[in-house]
């Protein structure tokens, strides 16, 4: 008799997100999807986490879960219950606007969810040799075939208890059930009443009755009272059944079997048979990733780099030869070189996208070999592909460029070469951060995380739009205070999109489609070059609060002929180093424009940038 365990991770997209980013644990999270043509829609959400509240949140993409969670949510009355699946994102944002803790809003990434669940399934290797994930559009269950494994854990109940404990200790919320078929285990994990056997709590307490897994004999009586949604049916069939008053599996069993396909289509009968073990259901096992490594050992030690390059070429060829049949490419290579010294020298080659081109990989490794401090007398070289990815993903839309794939490959090869020679942090993307303090308003992210770039860029303008206008508090607690332009007293220079921005330029030349994107700042507000840290200068001012008249910088004296400001930038006291500065843009007699500020904490003048 087959023994199957189904581990259900309710609201897996949210659980995954919180597991990867623990800082989201205390914040409400809303996931939205942009796939439809009706604009962004809410897919899943949850309040600040706690055990029951995650169960109380909803996932719309899987109809079965949404049906289940609607039931739970009613009982729990979670504060976020005002949201419904499929609600426009803008509406949800409006509902969440007045809350103390700002909600984290992110685009739903189904592919990452599946990949994360696969990853999780592979960690179950210690419980069973056969494990996989459920075959569904948006899977939330890990399946294990534990046939013949229970004696290793001292019985079935101990096995399930150990499994759930293992997941709980890693911070996941799970419900587990053991049954002779995948369908029955799935139904029991999802729908068996929370108090006795199906739920997590009872599993950890073996004294309670009903902790044992289901057998064939008890299948009928256990499944009969469960709702029809426990059969993993499409939402359409469930609706039809509900209209006919068929709510329980037992009611379906009472109907003549041969009439079911003509009434409800073949899928219902198929699912019913799967649950009761009349037709087999296949568990597609996940294979544990095996390391792919090649080594080269010699008695005669190498002395020069050229020979090492040659050896590396041979090794890369061999490595690629093993990856080729799997249609995979290396995304990261670790090269260990051992000489007479005890410690091996390690070189890590990271790529933007997986590659199976020997020449390219050798070029990247060569850049490292040239710079590495190699040991004397190399006698051992080991090359391991520490990260492998399917080559099908290599044609992803890098930077959203509408170019042919050759160009993409050239660009990603350029980024590989640059980051391998200069270091990953030296090749970066800039992401705007809604922070009033100029030096903190941008964050540089290494280019090897291009996948996340698109979502980051998409969310940046929205964050800026949410900023309060003149004199308000920004979400992270920094404050803008608008000053008046010193001399004219009319137009305040302040960081806000209400001022004319470059996008309004009437272009006289024929440059269609070249209007720049709408920018959060206007062109004259921030300098193109920002000195880090700001440099202290000597300045003469017009008065205690006035603009600078002349200043000394880099052993030169500058006379100010025009100035704009002040723009006060102030951060909250709760920051480690709060600032309070009055910024002036000044024009010198030489026509140069600089950005100066008066620091109130230090009672001194600084130059912070040049409008180059």
């Amino acid at each position: 008799m087959a023994r199957m365990v189904c581990l259900w991770l309710p609201n897996w997209p949210l659980q995954r997100l919180r597991h990867e980013r623990p800082e989201l644990k205390d914040r409400p999270v809303v996931l939205f999807s942009n796939t439809g043509h009706r604009g962004p829609r809410v897919v899943a959400w949850s309040d600040a986490t706690s055990k029951h509240k995650v169960l109380a949140s909803g996932v719309a993409s899987a109809p079965r879960c949404s049906a289940n969670s609607t039931k739970d949510r009613g009982a729990d009355a979670a504060p976020l219950a005002c949201l419904t699946p499929g609600m426009p994102l803008a509406e949800a944002e409006a509902l969440l606007a007045g809350r103390d803790v700002p909600a984290h809003i992110e685009q739903h990434d189904p592919a990452a969810d599946v990949a994360g669940l696969r990853e999780l399934a592979r960690t179950c290797n210690s419980f069973s040799p056969l494990f996989g994930i459920e075959a569904a559009e948006s899977p939330e269950c890990v399946l294990l075939d534990v046939t013949g494994c229970e004696h290793l854990f001292g019985g079935e109940q101990n096995l399930v208890a150990a499994l759930t404990r293992d997941f709980q200790q890693r911070g996941f919320q799970v419900r587990a059930a053991l049954a002779p078929t995948i369908g029955a285990a799935w139904a029991a994990a999802h729908y068996r009443s929370p108090t006795p056997c199906g739920s997590v709590d009872s599993r950890t307490n073996p004294n309670q009755p009903g902790h044992k897994g289901l057998g064939y004999e008890s299948l009928e009586e256990t499944l009969a009272p469960l709702p029809v949604t426990a059969l993993r049916l499409p939402i359409k069939i469930v609706e039809t059944l509900r209209e006919l008053g068929l709510h329980r599996i037992g009611q379906l069993r009472a109907l003549p079997r041969e009439s079911l396909p003509s009434r409800f289509g073949s899928e219902l009968l198929h699912r019913l048979d799967q649950a009761f073990g009349n037709v087999p259901e296949l568990l597609i096992p996940e294979r544990p990733a095996e390391p792919i490594a090649v080594t080269w050992v010699t008695d005669e030690p190498l002395t020069d780099r050229e020979s090492l390059r040659f050896i590396c070429r041979e090794l890369i060829d061999e490595l690629i030869g093993r990856l080729k049949p799997r249609r995979e490419g290396a995304r990261q290579l670790l090269c260990q070189v051992k000489g007479t010294a005890a410690r091996p020298v390690e070189m890590l080659v990271s790529l933007v996208s997986p590659s199976d081109a020997t020449k390219h990989l050798l070029e990247l490794l060569g850049l490292q070999i040239d710079r590495a401090d190699l040991p004397e007398g190399i006698s051992f070289v080991r090359l391991e592909a520490t990260s492998i990815e399917s080559l099908a993903t290599r044609q992803r839309d890098l930077f959203g460029l509408e170019a042919d794939t050759d160009t993409h490959r050239e660009v990603s090869s350029l980024l590989d070469r640059l980051s391998n020679r200069l270091g990953a942090t030296a090749v970066a993307h800039a992401a705007l951060v809604p922070d009033a303090q100029p030096e903190l308003s941008v964050r540089y992210k290494p280019c090897d995380t291009i996948g996340s770039q698109a979502s980051g860029a998409a969310s940046a303008p929205r964050l800026f739009a949410a900023r309060t206008p003149t004199g308000g508090l920004t979400p992270n607690g920094t404050r803008f205070v608008s000053g008046t332009a010193l001399a004219a007293g009319s137009s305040p220079v302040i960081v806000d999109s209400e001022l004319p921005v470059a996008s309004a330029i009437p272009l006289k030349v024929s440059t269609e489609g070249l209007t720049p994107p709408r920018s959060p700042i206007c062109w004259q507000a921030r300098p193109l070059r920002l000195f880090a840290p700001p440099q202290r200068i000597e300045a003469t001012t017009a008065g205690p609060e006035g603009a600078p008249m002349r200043f000394h910088w880099e052993r030169r004296e500058y006379r100010v002929i025009r100035s704009w400001g002040p723009e006060r930038i102030e951060t909250g006291w709760w920051r480690d180093q709060s600032i309070c500065r009055d910024y002036f843009r000044v024009e010198t007699q030489t026509g140069q424009h600089f950005w100066l500020f008066r620091s109130f904490e230090q009672a001194a003048w600084f130059i912070h940038g040049a409008f180059d």
């Binding site: 100029p438 921005v501 959060p520 921030r526 193109l528 025009r562």
Partner: protein, 239 residues
């Protein structure tokens, strides 16, 4: 009519010869010039694909970079922009108003000057890179030739920001401009609400054109937002 055809044919052949026979400059080899008025200094209707343009300026805060970005924004319109920033001074948010799309921009921040030059050459050589912006203090003629060849291979525009003292050095760039800030036009002192800037842009030399001409460019907030005005300066600019 016939004469015009002959002239067009001849200038096409001259371009072919000048481009070392590899490619010939056609309309598709140009990207639009975004600075109205500057076309008086150019010999074609825009910037050459696969070429270098030098922008020289004396000192900091002269505004040469924002002019260069704004003038050549068509070059990275549908491709990648690479900004090499060895001083780690570039402030990305300030580049956005000058048509820089941060999602299609890579910032390279090498620690040593040789690495900056190496990155510049690598980026120029890559197809798919629309433009590369880099500060170049010192540049030997050999290195400059390498850069020009790299740009011809890759087809992007190399924008080199250089100090004014480089004006006497030999160059393989298509154009070399000198940017000089000018005082406010009507000598208005303090008392102006909107920020406005004026420059004299002088063509020091071009590959196909003698230098000496200059135009005056103004960037200011007009009634409809930012506006650009350009006027022809006298052919022999006062120092």
């Amino acid at each position: 009519m016939v004469a015009r055809d002959v002239i067009a044919d001849l200038s096409q052949r001259i371009r072919t010869i000048e481009r070392t026979g590899q490619r010939c400059a056609t309309k598709s080899d140009l990207t639009a010039n975004g600075l109205p008025g500057l076309e008086r200094l150019l010999c074609e209707a825009g910037w050459p694909r696969g070429g270098l343009v030098e922008w020289l300026a004396e000192g900091r805060g002269t505004g040469s970079m924002c002019l260069a970005l704004w003038a050549s924004r068509a070059a990275w319109h549908d491709s990648l922009l690479v900004m090499i920033d060895s001083q780690r001074e570039l402030h990305a948010p300030a580049a956005v108003p000058f048509a820089v799309d941060l999602s299609k921009t890579v910032f390279i921040r090498p620690e040593r000057p040789p690495d900056a030059l190496w990155s510049l050459e690598q980026a120029l050589r890559t197809r798919g890179v629309g433009a590369v912006v880099c500060d170049v203090e010192q540049l030997s003629p050999q290195a400059c030739r390498r850069l020009q060849l790299a740009a011809e291979t890759g087809g992007g525009l190399g924008i080199l920001l250089r100090p004014a003292k480089a004006r006497g050095q030999p160059s393989f760039a298509e154009y070399r401009f000198l940017v000089q800030p000018l005082p406010p036009p009507d000598a208005r002192r303090a008392g102006v609400a909107a920020v406005s800037r004026r420059w004299r842009v002088e063509l020091l030399r071009g590959r196909k054109r003698f230098g000496g001409d200059s135009v005056i460019v103004e960037l200011s907030d007009g009634p409809n937002g930012l506006s650009l005005a350009a006027e022809l300066a006298s052919a022999t600019p006062a120092a």
